[in-house]
């Protein structure tokens, strides 16, 4: 796990020296090094595009296009920003641009009908979900279950959650990327996290995280 506080307070992490060197080499004309520079972030870039476009093919196109744009504009990158954040912001913008163009906003508009961000939240239950076996994420069905739960969130909650908790952007960066206020980011993030807990905690108690209902290759009946 990467501690959000650490990411917030210490953006310059180990490996950064190598990254800065790569950036300046690419800026200096060694273009073939660009893939090496973005490779550590390709999954984050794809996830950001997917959170917005919700379609694998569109997300891949947007992710590739965003990285080509980053490549074309590498001279504009300044070292006081984190490269990963710059890359993700370009990606988010590319994805939002595509969504506007596709006009899926109209379709997803219904999705935002619940506008009561400020309305009181009440947990569905208080299922005790204390332990996480660290190996849980090794299992594809657990990851799928988590992805599914995320997919049920309204767009505005999902986007904030992905940028903040999966991409590890800070509050301000998330706000800028999505063009909303920091206060909105906080409210939506709280709601997203609580809703996901609601969706997952009960299942956890029933044991779907810790064991399969039946062994692989056998039938449950």
């Amino acid at each position: 796990m990467s501690d959000p506080e650490m990411v917030l307070n210490n953006p310059r992490q180990a490996g950064d020296a190598r990254e800065l060197e790569l950036i300046s080499n690419v800026q200096g004309g060694q273009h073939e090094l660009f893939y090496e520079l973005v490779r550590p972030y390709e999954r984050r870039v794809y996830a950001a595009a997917l959170a917005i476009l919700r379609n694998e093919q569109d997300a891949e196109d947007a992710a590739q296009e965003a990285m080509l744009k980053a490549f074309a504009n590498i001279q504009k990158f300044r070292a006081e920003a984190r490269f990963s954040t710059w890359l993700i912001q370009i990606t988010v913008n590319e994805a939002l641009m595509r969504r506007r163009r596709e006009r899926t906003v109209v379709m997803e508009g219904i999705d935002d009908r619940r506008d009561g961000e400020e309305s009181e939240y009440a947990p569905r239950d208080f299922a005790d979900w204390r332990e996480i076996p660290s190996e849980a994420l090794e299992r594809k069905e657990v990851r799928l279950r988590l992805a599914e739960a995320l997919g049920t969130l309204d767009r505005k909650y999902r986007e904030v959650f992905v940028l903040r908790d999966m991409e590890h952007l800070n509050i301000q960066e998330t706000a800028e990327a999505l063009g909303i206020t920091a206060a909105s980011v906080k409210t939506r993030l709280l709601r997203a996290r609580l809703m996901l807990r609601d969706l997952l905690a009960a299942g956890w108690e029933q044991g779907w995280f810790s064991r399969l209902p039946f062994e692989k290759g056998t039938k449950p009946w």
Partner: protein, 222 residues
């Protein structure tokens, strides 16, 4: 602000996310700590919410479709190669002192064909110019109009525009000075002056989206 003497559960839930992110002050934190010690339900909610943050924050949750990396690498290689090919003809010409005229007609024809393909690929791939039409100098902006520029951006705004980034470094100059210094007008607050530049553009939304992308790229995050 809520009284920190004693919190009810709803107040704790409201601050739960900030608590997890370390964004509550020391007083509120210790009051919440007290609450979690005595309230089983809130403690369970906190543990569950932390699990959510931990599970989704894990690198393993970021999956890409099969072949994603190879396709990306190929596309980037192509792009780099394109850049090289564009520079190549000059280099070839300098050492092409072949005796036979027809001998170098072959590579020349091949290069022409290749350049044509590149141009075609380029026109198909890049529908959107890196520089949007909106970032061209605006027309009819009163030269003595007071505008605001900031350190982190090459865009100038009308004071109070909500698209000013890095407000701390704001500086007011005239529109004429801004344009002389290479700043371009904001596509939001100075939109009225950009209408003329938009003539002939079929989809104004795309253009403004491009201008926004330029701004994102230019300001490089904070």
């Amino acid at each position: 602000m809520v009284s920190h003497e004693k919190l009810n559960c709803e107040q704790v839930w409201r601050e739960l996310s900030n608590y997890i992110d370390g964004e509550v002050n020391a007083a509120l934190r210790s009051t919440m700590d007290e609450h979690f010690k005595t309230c089983q339900r809130c403690a369970s909610l906190l543990a569950g919410t932390r699990n959510v943050v931990q599970l989704y924050g894990d690198e393993r949750m970021l999956e890409v479709p099969a072949g994603f990396s190879q396709r990306l690498e190929q596309r980037l290689e192509q792009k780099v190669e394109q850049g090289r090919e564009r520079r190549r003809p000059r280099a070839v010409a300098s050492r092409a002192r072949w005796s036979s005229w027809s001998a170098w007609m072959v590579p020349l024809a091949a290069m022409a064909l290749f350049a044509g393909t590149l141009a075609l690929v380029d026109s198909l791939t890049f529908k959107y110019p890196a520089k949007s039409i909106l970032s061209a100098p605006g027309h009819d902006i009163p030269p003595d109009l007071a505008v605001v520029v900031t350190a982190g951006s090459r865009v100038f705004h009308v004071a109070g525009c909500s698209f000013i980034h890095d407000k701390a470094t704001e500086r007011t100059i005239t529109a004429k000075e801004a344009m002389q210094d290479g700043y371009v007008p904001c596509s939001r607050c100075l939109r009225q002056y950009l209408k003329t530049a938009l003539r002939g553009q079929t989809d104004a939304d795309d253009a403004s989206a491009d201008a926004e992308q330029d701004e994102v790229i230019g300001r490089a995050g904070h």
